[in-house]
Amino acid sequence: MLELRNIVFEVPTGKDGEIKRIIDDLSLTIEDDRFTVITGPNGGGKSTLAKLIMGIEQPTSGQILFNGQDITNMPITERAQLGIGYGFQQPARFKGMKVKKLLDIAAGRKLPMLACNEYLQKVGLCSASYLTREVDKSLSGGEVKRIEIATILARDPKLAIYDEPEAGIDLWSFDRLTETFRDIHEARDGRSIVIISHQERIIQLADEIVLLRNGKVAETGTPADLMPKLGFAAKGIGDCPFTQPTVLHLTEIPTTC
């Protein structure tokens, strides 16, 4: 179980020592075996919250507990060893490192080829040849992103946090990925998944949705409760007038100018 108690995260803006509050006195509990989706507008503090849980950022104040243990000041490595995993929104690339090696590091042991192929299949990379490719710029953005997710699958943490796993992934691979998340969740073996996402199909899988706005939990609830409010069902997000463009016929466009 993960408990965030009164978390505040502030950064200096650089102007006259002014500070900006990214996370504002946020408290949240994520139970074991739960599939939680954190959603909300850009700049609302979602990625920051994920980084605070992994230890990549340190809160200005507040407390983070994992299975009852205070991990607020614990370094990233120790949190990883306790069973917290984090899938980066923008994954790092490594010159010279093979995909197989990265998966081995993630798993903490040498993995059999078959197991590696299964992890890759689960993220829609259906070719064993990926294992010997280097995790460098020769891979596309979508490929690196899926390999990033595969490293978390190989690591199999108790609490996995994915920061916008769908970003940069094509529709077909996204289908496969959604199935993978559903499978992990349905296994219900004590593992928790936290996904930061804007994707309706991922949100629908959630046990609980957390709507984050201005660094605060604006609302929480089940998909049934929150989906209509999120605007997906009504498709009326922000009432943008351009969502229904005027149909123009060529004959209506003046040609005299």
Partner: protein
Amino acid sequence: MAVDLSPIDESLLAEIAGLHGMPKGAFNIRKDGELLRRSSSAFIDIETKTDNPGIDIRIKPGTKGETIYIPVIVTQSGLKDVVYNTFYIGEDCDVKIIAGCGIHNDSHEASEHDGIHSFYCGKNSRIQYIEKHYGQGEGTGERILNPVTNVYMEEGSSCEMEMVQLRGVTSTTRDTNAELGKGAKLVLIEKLLTHDKQVAVSNMNVQLNGEDSSVRVISRSVAQDDSVQIFNPLVTGNAACRGHVECDAILMGNAKVKAIPGIEAAHEDAMLVHEAAIGKIAGDQITKLMTLGLTSEEAEQEILEDFLN
């Protein structure tokens, strides 16, 4: 011929040539400026040069699947060993050559080995050349290696050269020169790690003379502490050819790296590209590996190993 390998000799040979005991087939092991042991094979003849110190290695046309070992070890301080090794590789060969030099110096006097290697690659022959340089010992004496590599490639030949220097060499100036004929393909891979106050200079001059010849120069290096590295690879296209030069360096501590990749085209169909990048280890790489349970030191080590792998 008596063979007396001390534990130091054995460790040096294992480090530079992956040898444990004497190899099979054709080989020539040189220690402290003198021949330690030599063996020719049915298709490969190794003979002492008559003009200069060193050996001529003649590989008969059509020789395939053989590996030749020519490691050099220096354990005497104050020694300057200059050796000329010339390979004459016949047509249609497919061979692997493992060279390298290991210096063990416990003294305050310098030890130096300058190996001048020349390769005459026959038509359609394929050569894989691996050269490892390594230095060890507690002394303050310099461990100096100044290799010169000359490659002359005939029509349709291909050559992959991997030259590695990881740790222990105080000072090195490497000169690599190549001339490529029609359809010849050369891959030059250089991997370098310097530390403390070491200095490494690498000059390359590749002349693409034949139509459809190609070269790839891949240089990966790590400069630590107060070490200095200078790369100066030059590829000249004198025909319709392709050349790609890639220099990548990771900088640590107070080290300095200067990369001056050069390309010169003297033919309208010469396609030459160069890239060079120098920088420290990216923070996001270390963070990622830490989220997989490695400490920052382990992460750094892992990144360097893979980079030089």
